[in-house]
């Protein structure tokens, strides 16, 4: 049987990817970029699951990734619709401009 890499390396890669996504979501003010960050994060989570599935020799992890993809797709659908709708109304996609309510 051939071995790939230590599992922890997969996790490290996923963690870096996830945090990059998080940084994107946090640092960028552009709503679409935030959404892109979320996608990166979700994809990183998928990576963890796939690695784990391999680690445990189970299919559950892979099944979960399918669900993650479904979620990602629907989130993007709703999200982009919402962004579009907001942009139509206000003309901006800068996240911080949406501060009608605060305090």
């Amino acid at each position: 049987m051939a071995y790939v890499v230590p599992f922890s390396h997969v996790l490290v890669l996923a963690a870096i990817l996830f945090l990059l996504g998080a940084v994107c979501a946090l640092a960028r003010r552009n709503l679409i970029m935030i959404l892109i960050g979320v996608e990166v994060m979700l994809s990183a989570a998928g990576l963890v699951f796939i690695g784990a599935a391999m680690r445990w020799q189970q299919l559950d992890g892979q099944a979960f990734v399918i669900f993650i993809m479904a979620v990602a797709a629907s989130e993007v659908a709703i999200g982009l619709a919402l962004i579009l709708y907001s942009r139509r109304r206000t003309g901006t996609i800068n996240a911080d401009r949406y501060n009608l309510m605060k305090g």
Binding site: V5, F7, L35, L47, A53, A63, L80
Partner: protein, 168 residues
């Protein structure tokens, strides 16, 4: 260190590099293109990690559907790249990056020094058929919910996308 490992590390570097490029682009178009690259590399990685079906799905859904959707929207919105000076562009990154650094350090420490995750991964492959059977046997309910999820997303997106009206 065998060939798989080499591929893994190359892919890893590729993914991170693409992602870093993607998230730092001012131009959304560029960002999305880089991201597609990142996703395709991820798909290959999935394949490497024994999930051929998911690899295809990754390409189709992420790199394909989702990113195309993004592109489409971006083009529709005609968003011009943000013009900011050097410092103003950097400032928002400070906090997230430093927090990320700390978190990452903690995770590293835990993963490397204090965990039992040093288990090396064996090379196996899940056949799409077995995977499909497994999915519908064990997680049929999950699939159902996922379908509702997509349905709700559809309805919601439709509702939000519809022009402003006062409903009935």
């Amino acid at each position: 260190m065998n060939i798989y490992a080499v591929i893994f590390y190359i892919l890893g570097v590729l993914i991170v590099a693409f992602t870093v490029m993607a998230i730092t682009r001012r131009n959304l178009m560029h960002a999305i293109v880089f991201l597609v690259g990142s996703f395709i590399a991820t798909a290959v990685l999935f394949y490497l990690l024994g999930a051929p079906f998911l690899a295809i799905m990754e390409v189709v859904i992420y790199a394909g559907a989702i990113m195309v959707l993004f592109l489409f929207i971006v083009m529709m919105l005609e968003i011009e790249p943000e013009e900011r000076d050097w410092w103003a562009g950097l400032r928002p990154w400070l906090w997230p990056l430093s927090l990320m650094g700390i978190s990452l350090a903690v995770i590293f420490v835990y993963l490397i020094f204090a965990s039992g995750s040093s288990h090396t991964l064996p090379m196996v492959m899940a056949s799409p058929l077995a995977f499909g059977r497994f999915l519908f046997e064990k997680y049929w309910l999950g699939v159902e919910i996922a379908s509702y999820l997509l349905f709700v997303a559809l309805v919601g997106a439709l509702y939000l996308g519809r022009g402003e009206e006062t409903g009935g």
